[in-house]
Amino acid sequence: MTITLNGESCELDDDITLVAFIESRTGTTRGSAVVVDDEVVPRGSWPDYRLRDGQRVELITAVQGG
């Protein structure tokens, strides 16, 4: 399926969970969070939350900063 990740088109396996998705991108869930179609998804629901085709996903992580 195809989602929009941080503004760019991105191919994903169908039915992937948020936990799997985040770990596949960052190697850990520590320090990252996602906004799907303008909704902040609570960490607690990541294991069950499955991305769907066409969703807009912002994958955000902690970086060095002020």
Binding site: G31, A33, A62, G66
Partner: protein, 263 residues
């Protein structure tokens, strides 16, 4: 150091949490993670800030690895936000990412000055407090706005000394003293620190802590400057507690006037 012992019974508490250092470190501006690692170690800090940004696939390693290894508490900020709405969303994201409801709230008016927008800042602070966040707002040095932010339920106020990254020190010490004199909670001097004496002055004015980034991360020798800032915060705090001599317009001898020999 003697100073260290003398401050042993002088805890630094924010929102019920006690911290072992009054120096809060920003982690931005350092050339590498190794540099920030050495600087954090030398600073002795117990709390440091991070920003929230889109994942950059090209980066390797994370500031969190450094922070976690050092056993330092993390404080996400909302740097780059221009509206209350953006700042609130960013805080919500940070809460999920870092499992903390603490946030350094920044809502700036423009890129050139990076000064806070007082209206958006207060709006964001009120909203975030309502959402259960522990809010530490970066604000200007206006005592009126500081009072409003405390009335809104902020856990501390963090007035600037001068604009972010300028190293101009504390432009208006009188305002910082006013903010301190009527503060209900911790006052943390945030932004503008350029060198150690600026940090010492902030503490002498009565601030409870100092937050700085560029002064250390962009110094020629960040680790050494971090050690300098640690010593300066200790020095300024001790001086505040010790009670400085009054300023006098005329001289006063420190050797006895009497008893001069006839030579």
């Amino acid at each position: 150091m003697a100073g260290q012992q003398q401050t042993a019974h002088d805890p630094f508490v924010i929102a019920g949490e006690e911290f072992g250092s009054r120096l809060i470190m920003g982690t931005g501006g350092a050339p590498s993670l190794d540099v920030i690692d050495a600087a954090l170690a030398a600073s002795g800090t117990a709390l440091c800030t991070v920003a929230m940004r889109r994942l950059d696939p090209s980066t390797t390693g994370s500031i969190l690895d450094v922070i976690d290894r050092r056993g330092v508490r993390v404080l996400p900020n909302t740097a780059g936000c221009r509206t209350a709405r953006e700042a609130v969303r960013t805080a919500e994201v940070a809460r999920e990412a870092l499992e903390t409801d603490w946030v350094k709230l920044e809502v700036v008016a423009d890129e050139r000055t990076l000064l806070p927008d007082p209206v958006e800042l207060l709006d964001a602070a009120q909203t975030l407090v309502g959402l259960g966040f522990t809010v530490l707002p970066y604000t200007n040095d206006d005592p009126g706005l500081a009072r409003r932010l405390q009335q809104a339920g902020c856990a501390a106020v963090m007035p600037l000394g001068s604009p972010i990254g300028t190293g101009l020190g504390i432009a208006n010490p009188h305002n910082i003293e006013l903010i301190v004199s009527e503060a209900r909670g911790p006052v943390i001097l945030d932004a503008g620190i350029g060198t150690a004496s600026d940090a010492a002055l902030a503490m002498e004015l009565g601030c409870d802590g100092v937050l700085l980034a560029s002064a250390v991360t962009r110094a020629q020798d960040p680790a050494r400057m971090a050690a300098a800032m640690a010593a300066a915060v200790t020095a300024g705090r001790l001086a505040r507690l010790a009670g400085r001599i009054p300023r006098r317009s005329h001289a006063q001898a420190s050797s006895p006037i009497e008893g001069m020999a006839v030579l």
